[in-house]
Every structure is written in C-alpha cells, then in structure tokens.
C-alpha cells in the first residue's frame, strides 16, 4: 500500500515566491562551490544527498488531497483540495482519458477541501465514475454550488462523468473499494470527519481539520482508539500547541504536540504532519518536523513513532 500526497497545505494553496526560489538557488550554489559539479549526475547527487530538504525541495502549496494506492484499478482518495487537479491530470496522462473509478472520502466541505474538483479533468470526461462519500448532509450541494455561477463558469451539469454522492454515518463500518472504512466526528467549524481505512492488516487514519480541545478526557480516549495501532496517522498540525489553546482556540486545528501524544498513546507507527500553515515557508516546516521528531524522542516510552512532514509528491509505503 502506498500513500501519496497530492496536496498538503492548509486553508489555502500557496506558491513559492521568486524571492524564495532565488534564496534556495543562492544557498545551493554557495554550498556547491568548488565541488566540481560539472555534470548533471554530480549535481543531482549533490542536491539529493547533501542539500537540506528545505533548500532542495518545497513542501508545496496545493490544498488537501491524499491518495491511498493499493495497486488496484480504483482510486481511493481523501479530500478534493487543489491537489486533486494535479492528480487528475496525472491520471489522464498516464492511464488515458476514461474508464477510471474514484472513491473520495470527504473530511468536510470547506473551500480548501473541495476547490480542486472544478479542475479535476476526469470528472468532465464520459466513461469515468466518481463516488464522493461524506457525512455532511450538504455534501452534494457544496459541490454543485461551487461549479455554478457566479463562482465558476462551467456548470456542474457539464461534468460528463458519472458522479455519485454517498452519505455515510459516523461510527459505522463500511466496506468500500476493498477497505473497511469508519468515519469519526471531529471538532471543527461546521464539523469535520476523520476516516480510519483498513485493508489487509494495514491501517491509515486521515484526520485533518480537527481541533483537540482536551477539556474532556473521555473524548480524547475515543481519538486514541480511532488511531489505535495505525500504520500511518495523517494529522492536522497547522498550529503550535500554544496558539491552538490560546489565540486560535476554536479555529478548528491541532498541533504537532497533540499529534505526537495521541500517536504515542495509540501506539501508531507513523505520524505525518499535514495541513501546513499557509504562512510557513519551507524552512519553518523543516524546523517544525525536526522539533516534532525531537519531542517524540524525549517523550518516548517503549514505543517509537516515526514522524514525517507531508509534502506534495511524498509517497509513504506501508
């Protein structure tokens, strides 16, 4: 099973500025000076092996979209943020225009989680099938509304794929696309839902846009059970803990600190920081990752949690 991240940024897509590109280039050129990087191979090896990740890469700017690739023909996705545009184009480029079936689990219907759908080309092409699952009773309305005037020039009715909206109930198990799937209500404006997806002994938890207020120990225990023994927990870590329980309380997001604690208590194997704060540059997210790994290390008991920071293009094999 391969988990592939197409969009990892929280709240709104972002793009690197020219100044940031220039800063990375200057840093790389200075670090590579006098190293005899006179072939593509040498330069590539230097970039891949010696430069810091925040210099050689970017965490990226598309909003939420994650694919869980089982090797089967059907696509299994979480959320349709702007990362879905890139995914859709990749599908058409690599596997042709039609005959595809997508199963999408929607955390919620805020704009950054649905904005990729009007640009999701497979939805416009006959012969494709998109099944959109979610727990909100406004699931279909939200998608139709953004593909309508005055917000968008191409009406939803012009999408020629077969598109279905399927309401799920939280705390109930479903068998979908070869997965055992369970949704869980999370604290977020207008509600959001996490998903626990299990298949052949592997467990992925997708838990974004979820604030953990920690004022109710029993509620925290339900999240520990939801994360229990997961191979990967994709976790909203947009804010610092201090912000999430002070100036940004009730803004609906969580922190790296709570992510580590929940994964430790649940004995999850991997924690992936997700839904990055849009004002954070690559250096800041790299620092956040290093700090989170350090926190996991100094608070570790007899169970290690591997910590990742999601970036557009990241693949995690389970």
């Amino acid at each position: 099973m391969l988990v592939r991240f197409w969009g990892t940024r929280g709240s709104i897509p972002v793009a690197m500025s020219s100044a940031e590109v220039k800063r990375k280039l200057v840093t790389a050129l200075v670090q590579g000076a006098g190293r005899g990087l006179d072939t593509t191979g040498k330069a590539r090896a230097f970039v891949e092996q010696e430069l810091d990740f925040s210099v050689s890469h970017t965490f990226g700017g598309n909003s939420s979209c994650v694919q869980i690739d089982t090797g089967e023909e059907d696509y299994v996705l979480c959320d349709l943020g702007s990362g879905a545009r890139v995914l859709g184009n990749s599908v058409l480029a690599t596997r042709g225009p039609a005959g595809h079936r997508f199963h999408v689990f929607m955390s919620h219907l805020h704009w950054d989680h649905i904005m990729g759908f009007p640009f999701f080309m497979p939805a416009y092409l006959p012969g494709n099938h998109v099944r959109i699952y979610g727990c909100h009773d406004t699931l279909e309305e939200a998608f139709r509304r953004q593909n309508a005037a005055p917000s968008f020039p191409v009406d939803f009715s012009r999408m020629n794929a077969r598109i279905e909206f399927i309401r799920l109930e939280p705390e109930r198990d479903y068998d979908i696309a070869g997965f055992r799937v369970r949704a869980k209500l999370q604290h977020h404006g207008g509600d959001s839902y996490g998903y626990r997806l299990e298949r052949h002994g592997k467990v992925v938890v997708y838990s974004t846009d979820s604030e953990h207020k920690q004022d109710d120990p029993e509620k925290m225990k339900t999240f520990v059970e939801f994360f229990r023994d997961a191979d990967l927990v994709i976790f909203d870590a947009q804010y610092s803990l201090a912000d999430s329980i002070s100036v940004k309380e009730d803004w609906g997001h969580s922190s790296n600190v709570v992510g580590v604690e929940l994964c430790q208590l649940a004995r999850a194997r991997r924690l992936c920081l997700y839904h990055h704060e849009p004002i954070f540059d690559d250096e800041r997210i790299a620092t956040l990752l290093a700090e989170t790994r350090r926190l996991e290390e100094i608070t570790r008991g007899d169970h290690r949690v591997e910590v990742w920071a999601a970036y557009d293009g990241l693949e995690i094999a389970l």
Binding site: Q214, D215, P217, M220, S240, L241, A242, D243, I245, S246, S255, N256, V257, V258, E261, L265, E291, T292, R294, L295, I298, T299
Partner: protein
Amino acid sequence: MELAAKRFADTVALFPAGRIDHATAEGFKAALQPHLAACAAGRDRVVLDLAGVEYISSVGLRVLILASKQAKAQGGALAVTDLQPVVREIFEISRFNLVLEVFPTLREALAKLSPPGLAAFDGA
C-alpha cells in the same frame, strides 16, 4: 496531586512534582484552584516552580494556560520557573515559552513580579 506551597510576602510559590499528564492533570488543576482564586489585583501573585516536574503533556500545559488566563482576568500574575531540560524543550516546541512568563529561577521571577516577595525570599 499534592502541591507544596511556600509564601514570600504577597507571592505564593507552588512546587508540583512528578508527571503532569492525562492521568494527573485534573488533580493538578484542582490543587491549583484555591491559589488561583486568590491570585488577583491587590492580592497574591503565583509562581509555579517546576523543578520537580519531569514531564508535562499538552493537557498539563492547557491547565497552565487556563490558570494564566484566569490570573490575568483577575488582575493577578502567574509565572513559571526552574524548568527541567526536558520540560524546557517541551515548552519551546509547543511555544509555551512565548505565551507564559517563564523565568530561570524562582528568585528571578520574584524580582520581576514582587519586590516584597523578593525581599522575603532573600531574607528567608
């Protein structure tokens, strides 16, 4: 949770010990409450000396920030001091060092919060 206390003039220093986590945070909060009630304008200041605290989780940190908010709302002042290295790192990673008043030592906290408290500490 047992919460040892020592008064220095108008300032009460509290000395929690052990781990402040999901198992103990509620007890810590309850033990703190009587001291917080008196932490108001013209009354007490509160300093939490965390030298005996080996670990604090997010739930424990939440108790601290709520306590700080309550103290401020009442016109009082609350500070923390003497963080062990692990606890200091947790404060830095969670950014609690930016939202709470943190001092290296109890004496430095008293020097900032209360001249009478400092005099009492130095005379003790």
